[in-house]
């Protein structure tokens, strides 16, 4: 009795030469074995060709870019360390002001989630906040650090004690939203979901900041919007273990505007 695996090996061309004759004769003599041989031949070719077809698939550009990013981190890295470093500036000289912000916000804002649009008619609270920050900065004689140039409205979600404002400040120290908008506006309509956009912005280590189009959506007003994510978590303060930051950009009067910045851990 011929073992069917011998037939398979014969069909696959992996049977030792010295056994060929015996198997060949058996196949020729038995229609059932012939049918089995055809089955193995057919499925062997099918799997081989399908494998080739799959291997010949090009890796899409956006996937290749992600792979390249992942390859650059040779060592296993916990999530928080794969981040852009926006915190390097905050060394000894800024520790004081960071602490001041933290203290200030313990009294006022418990949030780790949202900054929403810069509505000019709805910013009294934040204007006061910015003034307070400027005063603190002056008191500490820190001149190189600017308060956020935008008026922000904070939508708070209760959370643990957090250094949110420090993170916002640091984000804005490096994130030039006007420059970003002007750059991304030129390509955003062509970007596909998960495609990476490389900006000219750099983090504190000089690393180029990249963004990924996370999703397309419509705002409540029916405007076309894009959710753009920083490609890596950001380290925005000394205690920040990594913050995922996404930006909502909505098309208003043919121009994309930053409608919200979302912070999630």
């Amino acid at each position: 009795m011929i073992d069917e695996t011998k037939i398979m090996q014969y069909a696959d061309g992996t049977l030792p030469q010295e056994e060929h004759e015996e198997i060949k004769k058996a196949i020729e003599a038995d229609p059932k074995l012939k049918e089995l041989y055809n089955t193995f031949k057919e499925t062997g070719d099918l799997l081989f060709n399908l494998g080739n077809e799959i291997k010949s698939q090009p890796i899409p550009k956006h996937v290749q870019e992600k792979i390249n990013i992942l390859k650059t981190s040779n060592k296993p890295v916990p999530k928080e360390f794969g981040s852009f470093n926006f915190f390097g500036l905050f060394k000894v000289q800024y520790a004081g002001i960071a602490a001041a912000f933290c203290l200030f916000f313990v009294g006022g804002f418990y949030t780790n989630n949202f900054i929403t649009p810069k509505q000019k008619d709805n910013t009294g609270q934040v204007t006061a906040l910015n003034q307070k920050i400027n005063e603190l900065a002056k008191e500490l004689k820190v001149t190189s650090m600017e308060a956020p140039k935008k008026e922000l409205k904070l939508r708070s979600l209760s959370s643990e004690e957090e250094d949110l404002q420090t993170r916002i400040q640091n984000l804005y120290l490096y994130f030039d939203d006007e420059k970003f908008l002007s750059e991304i506006s030129q390509v955003i309509d062509e970007l596909k979901v998960n495609e990476v956009f490389e900006s000219s912005l750099k983090d504190n280590d000089g690393k180029v900041v990249k963004f990924v189009l996370a999703e397309n959506f419509s705002s409540k007003d029916g405007n076309n919007c894009k959710k753009v994510k920083f490609n890596e978590p950001l380290r925005l303060s000394g205690i920040d273990k990594g913050t995922d930051v996404t930006l909502d950009l909505c098309k208003i009067n043919e121009n994309y505007e930053l409608s919200s910045i979302n912070f999630t851990k």
Binding site: T14, T39, L47, I54, K55, I59, V63, P76
Partner: protein
């Protein structure tokens, strides 16, 4: 890690991703998701004999999570009373973005609806692994590889008929 996480490895994940997404665009999301997971856990899996199996499990869970999030499953109960989840019909469209032939997609779909042992070994065959490599990968004797492969190929032929 015994297996190198290179481009060939990444492409070897594609058949499974294609089969569960039915050729939709998000196949690459699954592949990259699994790859990212493995990269981040290189230390953890450095001695694991079957990294691809880990990647497949990861893709499976990513896909289920994604579908659940977007409510693209219809929960049903089969004849034997088991809970099953069926992807909504509109999600099963074959995307033109994949250049595999319709026939190839159909074959992939058949393979990945077979039992686990067949899926596993035919997936390795798609990756052009030798019997010996299959044996090492699956950690089973080469004789078992051959008999399993023969059985699964016969089953495949029957399902394609």
């Amino acid at each position: 890690m015994k297996e190198k996480l290179d481009e060939n490895f990444i492409k070897s994940l594609l058949p499974y991703a294609l089969s569960i997404t039915r050729g939709k665009e998000d196949q690459w999301d699954l592949v990259i998701g699994a790859y990212e997971y493995l990269k981040k856990n290189e230390e953890k899996y450095k001695d694991h004999p079957n990294i691809k199996a880990i990647a497949i499990l990861k893709m499976k869970s990513l896909y289920k999570d994604e579908f659940r999030k977007n409510k693209r499953f219809t929960s049903m109960t089969d004849k034997e009373g088991r809970d099953i989840e069926i992807a909504d019909e509109k999600q099963l469209d074959i995307s033109d973005k994949i250049s595999l032939s319709f026939e190839s997609k159909k074959v992939l779909s058949i393979i990945y609806n077979m039992g686990e042992k067949c899926r596993e070994i035919l997936d390795l065959a798609l990756d052009h692994k030798t019997y010996k490599e299959m044996s090492e990968r699956l950690d089973i004797p080469i004789g078992t590889v051959m008999s399993r492969l023969a059985k699964c190929r016969k089953e495949l032929k029957g399902l394609m008929a």
